[in-house]
Symmetry: C2
Subunit: 206 residues, 2 copies
């Protein structure tokens, strides 16, 4: 007995998810076969519509349903603070912690010479423009506590050199070697509360 | 910032899969957002079509694309041996081990008084009918090596009492406490090769 083609095809498609192997994918397919039909239909529909319904915010790059994301269209958010994150996912993790009242800036990339990645220069240019236009007082770097995050922080700091803005960074309350997307709310809260000002430029200026 | 509704909805839907929590579901959604669009569309389409394309075999209950599954429509399979499994998933695991040349019978349930489950009586009746019609020589019970599997084996054995058929069971080469769906091919092979005949009825008859 060979499995139906549509069955094998779906196993292959599900296997693209990180951490999902052939056996896990097969379990998922059998789970769908034995589950309530309305759930399966809703799942298929929701996945199919995802790209149509979800876009990127024109201002900060976070996920949005219209031209602006929820944060950027919320007039009560404090525009003097911009929290810089690497990905849309990190932005959601920060936001769900509920401890930040400012706005975001999604870099959309990180500095990693080993993997030949760099921070998109248009994103840095857009950040400079936002700081100038809004009179931003503080840029908070919420970057992953890894070597790539350190390098990315340095790149952002370089890009903002000479601007009248304070640059801070989340403290290493985050578990070193971890990832912002997996951090719990309490850890994110501690990390935000104990953020420290970056002082490299000041020392160089002495 | 609240997440777009379609985003939250999809996280909720994905969270129905066993072993998938909110964070895993969120990672999956972000993975879909950053992935090749054709893959996401194919995934949505494949999930949506699954129920239409996959059915149950009228004879043995295994997954099929037509009225009969691949095994039952294969004339070269040995009809003197019927392998009894609990679920369609177990049937696939057995079949993919490639060591069995007979046909299957999917019970579609197991005996578990604690969880108020029992083996569907129509499935047992259908098994009796198949044995009579095909002149089956051997029924091989490929049931999970757990207490529920033992009870299910007993129920099947009772249902076939008095029929001129040998009843065997996969040996405990399977790791005790495990599950057929997760067993590797080698273990399944050993378990099939060292299957033993059930002797309760013979002893009672003495």
């Amino acid at each position: 007995m060979s499995l139906p083609d549509s069955f094998e095809e779906l196993i292959g498609l599900l296997g693209h998810f990180p951490g999902v192997g052939e056996k896990t994918a097969r379990r998922m397919v059998f789970f769908m076969l034995s589950s309530d039909r309305s759930w399966v239909d809703a799942l298929a529909h929701s996945i199919g519509e995802l790209r149509e319904r979800v876009a990127s915010c024109e201002v900060c790059g976070a996920i949005a349903t219209g031209p602006l994301c929820g944060t950027c269209s919320d007039r009560t958010r404090d525009r003097t603070q911009i929290c810089v994150v690497e990905t849309q996912e990190d932005c959601v993790a920060m936001e769900q912690s509920g401890v930040f009242g400012g706005v975001y800036h999604v870099l959309g990339g990180r500095c990693s010479p080993l993997e030949d990645e760099e921070v998109p220069s248009e994103s840095l240019e857009r950040l400079r423009m936002r700081i100038r236009e809004n009179g931003t007082a503080e840029v908070i770097l919420a970057l992953n506590p890894r070597i790539e995050g350190d390098m990315t922080a340095y790149v952002v700091q370089e890009a903002l050199a000479g601007m009248a803005v304070k640059i801070t960074r989340l403290s290493y309350g985050l578990p070193v070697g971890g990832s912002i997307g997996y951090a719990d709310r309490v850890t994110l809260h501690i990390a935000l509360e104990s953020r420290r000002e970056m002082e490299v430029d000041k020392e160089e200026g002495r």
